[in-house]
Amino acid sequence: MAVTEEMVYDAIKTVIDPEVGFDIYSLGLIYGVKVEGDHAHVTMTLSTRGCPLHEMMKQWTKEAVEKIDGINSCEVEIVWEPAWNVTMASDEVKKALGAF
């Protein structure tokens, strides 16, 4: 069975930011996912540049995606443009953070 982008997003939803307490998909940190055969490419950002969790988040995302049957490798690219803001987060996150 071919791996779909939805399956990759589901895997990414298991990665939690331990500071904020939400998964990185709900936080709106994932900008895009591409699947080509057994390779996945994830484009994401972080809420703050200079965050000590920078490399760990990248690594966790890569590991979570590579656990999917049918994915052999995953490349995670961190971008800073467009800069993250809370409008990118899910309503649940916005509500929990008090952003509403």
Binding site: P18, G50, P52, E55, L97
Partner: protein, 431 residues
């Protein structure tokens, strides 16, 4: 492959823990001593016993935690590894011994046989620290405002500790008659040039990170950066050459710089997404409020030339602004360090805690209010000159300190038992 900035480049957890644990012990020690200073509320603010306590607190707690935090943050913020981790260990042991010997010598008024040795140890340890920072900067490629603040604050630290060491030598040899001028330059460069500039710089990383603030302009902090450099330079030249107009200009520029920085912090807080006023946010608000109050007290001192205001200024700045800022960040940085050490290898394998779980929030919240009440009582006691109230206030502040220590312990031991069971389960195959 990109380096793992938080691990490959930064010193190991145990090194940063050295600084944080020593900082906590010095914090407790100062809290214990503070009530015994009740009689000083009627005294002269530059007594050697007050200077001893202030050094114990500033060096042992505030700067100790800042040094530890800098070893963790500099590689992440500047995206380059620390020049030498070994330097950091050597610095730590020399710094701790230096503080103990120096403050004991100062308290004992033994300026010739004890104090100079402590001063020398501390001076060398600080030079090791700044050398480590300067050598780290050789490979820097990203020159943002935080990098500029850290660099310039360390230049001021070099100047400040050199003046401090000259003061120590002057106490023996008496080669410079105006020791008060040296003391003023020492205070300006270490407290404003190093501690406050460092707080301004790393505040630009820590405050937006913990409050999730975005979209604010940085013009105010850039203005603060340049005005504080001009202010301190004018103050130093004016004091050294006894040109009061330059000295006054220096105070004015430095004050404007602080208010630019405060405005920047306001901009960050006004755009924060995390609206909950948790223990961190409360500590930050109290720290900036006490900073503002302390400057109005200083202004009153300059206008009235009344020593009580200078004592009050120092007390509010040290035990208000510095305490709230440092304690607030201990609650954030220490859980991260412990979490990283203990749980990051287990992400995806077991349910890992959130960073906030590693702080006893109720205790942290109570600690904030207790410390604030104690501080307000102690400040009132200095104003109305009633030693008993000062004693009550500082004992209450001491209870707050004990609660901070409890939370540090809570964080340090968090999950040890659970992980021990997990690892035993791995060995016998049940996990």
């Amino acid at each position: 492959m990109a380096k793992n900035l938080a691990t490959d480049m930064a010193p190991p957890f145990i090194l940063v823990a050295h600084y944080f644990i020593a900082g906590a012990i010095f914090y407790a020690f100062t809290a214990f001593l503070l009530p015994f200073y009740a009689g000083e509320v009627n005294g002269y603010f530059l007594s050697s016993s007050i200077a001893s306590l202030m050094h114990l607190y500033l060096l042992g707690f505030v700067m100790m935690v800042i040094f530890g935090a800098m070893y963790q943050l500099v590689p992440v913020v500047l995206e380059i590894p620390i020049f030498s981790k070994d330097f950091a260990y050597v610095q730590f042991y020399m710094f701790v011994s230096g503080i103990l010997i120096f403050t004991f010598g100062l308290w004992n008024e033994n300026y010739t046989q004890i104090l100079p040795y402590g001063a020398m140890l501390m001076y060398i340890s600080m030079l090791i620290f700044v050398a480590n920072v300067f050598l780290t900067y050789r490979n820097i490629t990203r020159w943002d405002i935080v990098a500029k603040f850290i660099l310039v604050s360390n230049i001021f630290l070099t100047i400040g500790v050199t003046i401090g060491f000259i003061i120590a030598l002057n106490l023996i040899y008496g080669f410079y008659p105006d020791i008060l001028d040296l003391v003023q330059m020492h205070i300006a460069t270490t407290i404003f040039g190093y501690v406050i500039m460092t707080i301004m710089g790393i505040g630009m990383i820590l405050l937006p990170m913990f409050s999730l603030s975005h979209g604010f302009k940085q013009t105010a902090i850039e203005m603060a950066f340049y005005t504080i450099i001009i202010g301190l330079a004018l103050f130093l030249v004016g004091t050294f050459f006894k040109l009061n107009i330059l000295k006054f200009g220096g105070v004015l520029f430095s004050t404007v710089a602080i208010f630019f920085a405060l405005y920047q912090m306001y901009l960050i807080f006004s755009t924060r997404i995390r609206k909950q006023n948790d223990f961190w946010a409360k500590n930050m608000m109290a720290s900036f409020a006490t900073l503002i109050v302390s400057f109005f007290i200083l202004l009153a001192g300059v206008i009235t030339k009344n020593d009580t205001y200078y004592l009050l200024f120092g007390f509010t700045l040290f035990f208000g602004f510095f305490t709230f800022f440092v304690v607030g960040h201990i609650y954030k940085i220490l859980p991260f360090l412990v979490w990283y050490q203990r749980y990051s290898p287990l992400v995806g394998k077991i349910k890992v805690p959130m960073l906030n779980d590693m702080v006893d929030e109720k205790v942290a919240d109570s600690q904030f209010w207790i410390t604030l009440i104690g501080l307000l009582l102690a400040i009132s006691a200095i104003i109305i000159k009633i030693p008993l109230i000062f004693q009550i206030g500082t004992v209450i502040m001491g209870i707050g300190t004990l609660l901070v220590i409890y939370n540090i312990y809570f964080t340090l031991i968090y999950g040890i038992e659970e992980l021990k069971n997990y690892n035993e389960g791995l060995k016998d195959g049940s996990n």
